[in-house]
Amino acid sequence: MDAALDSLYQEIILDHYKHPHHAGLRGDPSAAGTAEVHHVNPTCGDEVTLRVHLADGVVSDVSYDAVGCSISQASTSVMTDLLIGKSVEEAMGIHQTFLELMQGKGKIEPDEDVLEDGIAFAGVAKFPARVKCALLSWMAWKDATSQTLSKENS
């Protein structure tokens, strides 16, 4: 039985949960190229406040303050590893790849070259109730990034 559980709780996920990367809010939320959003998972109460800082078309930082389960916390940590330093365009591509993996009902083989530690979430896709946990901060990142871009263009 633990095989099913272990497919959900990969060691990588538990490591990120215990030792999250890039945690804490940084920078000035009102500075140019910055947006802050607050997203919640209304069914279970997971919450994330997430700040995205863009500079010259690059995701220069993603900082956050989050509370929630191991899946949502680890997913946030992995996301910051993957997106910080990437161009906005690349980051959007990685976002899309992760989204497809999560919505693939466990039938998609993850691409380690693109998702790195994110492949550990392949098992989460088999637990429909937990997909929202894994996607919470990714959706927050996309929202904040869109807000930053539309601010720049206005």
């Binding site: 039985m1 633990d2 099913a4 559980l5 959900l8 709780y9 538990l14 069914t43 279970c44 109460g45 997971d46 919450e47 509370v67 929630g68 389960c69 191991s70 899946i71 916390q73 637990f127 937990r130 946990c133």
Partner: protein
């Protein structure tokens, strides 16, 4: 163990779902009855029998099936009235659920004129331990009317803080609405005392009995007039009935004074293009074709509970709750939210386990066939009061065994080792 239902094994046989095996060959350990209860065979059979042999719309069909259906629906109302010992069976209104019943009261009050009208400067009092369904309708009402929403705070051990009751419930108070038993903390509230104070200042008292009706004997007739609520609501699916059916009991004078909630068929006396007059209660508040099969199922459900006996069910719940509190507090790093003595609480026990998030606890327990609830249980303010974002909740019922509590405690110890806590 003293207090358990003597025929527990027989009762378990009444609930077919308890035979379920889950993934990995684990038997179902259902500890989520405060969320929804399981259904005995008699409820399932009653509903199927009605669909197979008596189905027709009620109150309007001039044929045999129509009168059988009407008779069964109204008999269900009689059974529900007997279940709560309502002073008058016509005071029992069928709704969709407790949420709709509370919205019915709050909305009808917002349209009321005369003594019940809510105006700017008036106050409505709730408590910090309410389910969202007993918070949001009152926020909507007070926002619309420019009235103020106030609430009882909570003590550290999860009881209502009554120290300021005489200030909180005052001459400006129009409505006091509170839960009888908390769905998160399990606390049983002193409804009679609060109702008595509310009636001193002329406020009406609404009681959410969604968690009380399944496990405490409700006897409206024997309550003293001053301490009896004016409105009491509960939902069918937590009293071994189906979903889609709830109950609003209201004192006739209050229901007569309130304007209708929904307009439509069956709630009228006569309709012209200019205006309508309304039917008497209960029909005044039952517009449209009601959930007929569900009401009939609920009638069978409360009959079943009355047959087992609410005193016996309450004793069973108290015995199990005491046993569960003992087992849970033996788990290192576990903190129970709410009172720790079984006598003053219901069978829902929320807790947190240091180092493991409630979703992760529920996931590991589920892999062992144990069903609990994780999250804020639609009581975010009560969670905020105790500084927690979410909790895990076990809730027992008349079919729960001590062995199932043991499985939960084992599962929690296993969860700690799985997440390498401590």
């Amino acid at each position: 163990m003293d207090g358990l239902l003597p025929e527990l094994e027989v009762i378990r046989k009444d609930f077919p779902i308890l035979e379920r095996q889950l993934a990995g060959g684990f038997p179902l350990v259902y500890l989520d009855s405060a969320n929804t209860s399981q259904k005995p065979q008699v409820v399932i059979d009653t509903m199927v029998d009605h669909l197979e042999h008596h189905n027709a719309n009620i109150s309007r069909a001039m044929h045999q099936l129509g009168s059988e259906s009407t008779e069964a629906f109204e008999a269900a109302r009689d059974r529900v009235a007997a279940f709560i010992k309502a002073p008058d069976r016509d005071e029992v209104i069928f709704t969709k659920n407790a949420t709709e019943a509370l919205n019915l009261v709050a909305n009808s009050l917002s349209w009321a004129t005369g003594d019940l009208a809510v105006a700017a400067g008036d106050e409505i009092v709730i408590t910090e331990m309410e389910h969202h369904s007993n918070i949001v309708p009152w926020q909507l009402l007070t926002e619309r009317k420019g009235a103020s929403l106030r609430w009882f705070g909570l003590t550290d051990d999860g009881r209502l803080d009554l120290s300021n009751i005489d200030e909180l419930i005052n001459e400006r108070t129009k409505v006091v609405s509170l839960t009888w038993v908390s769905n998160m903390l399990g606390t049983i509230n002193p409804v009679a005392r609060i109702a008595a104070r509310a009636h001193e200042v002329g406020a009406i008292v609404v009681v959410d009995a969604s968690q009380a009706a399944p496990q405490l004997p409700v006897d409206l007739q024997s309550m003293e007039g001053a301490s009896r609520p004016d409105v009491l609501v509960f939902t069918g699916h937590k009293v071994v009935g189906p979903t889609g059916i709830g109950v609003l009991w209201g004192r006739r004078e209050v229901l007569d004074a309130l304007p209708p909630f929904h307009g439509g068929g069956e709630m009228i006396e006569t309709v012209t293009m200019q205006r309508s007059t309304y039917a008497q209660i209960p029909h005044k508040f039952e517009a449209g074709t009601p959930p007929i099969i569900e009401a009939i199922g609920l009638g069978a459900a409360v009959d079943y509970l009355d047959h087992v006996g609410l005193d016996a069910i309450h004793a069973h719940e108290q015995a199990l709750t005491g046993y569960a509190l003992e087992g849970l507090t033996s788990v290192p790093g576990l903190r129970v939210l709410g009172p720790l003595d079984a006598a003053s609480r219901g069978g829902a026990i929320s807790f947190e386990l240091e180092g493991v998030h409630p979703h992760d606890i529920a996931q590991v327990l589920d892999s062992r066939g144990i069903a609990v609830r994780a999250g804020h249980h639609c009581a975010k303010p009560a969670h905020a009061r105790f500084g927690v974002q979410a909790s895990t909740r076990m809730s027992s019922y008349l079919y729960t065994t001590p062995t199932e509590i043991d499985a939960l405690v084992d599962g929690l110890n296993y969860t700690r080792s799985y997440f390498k806590v401590g």
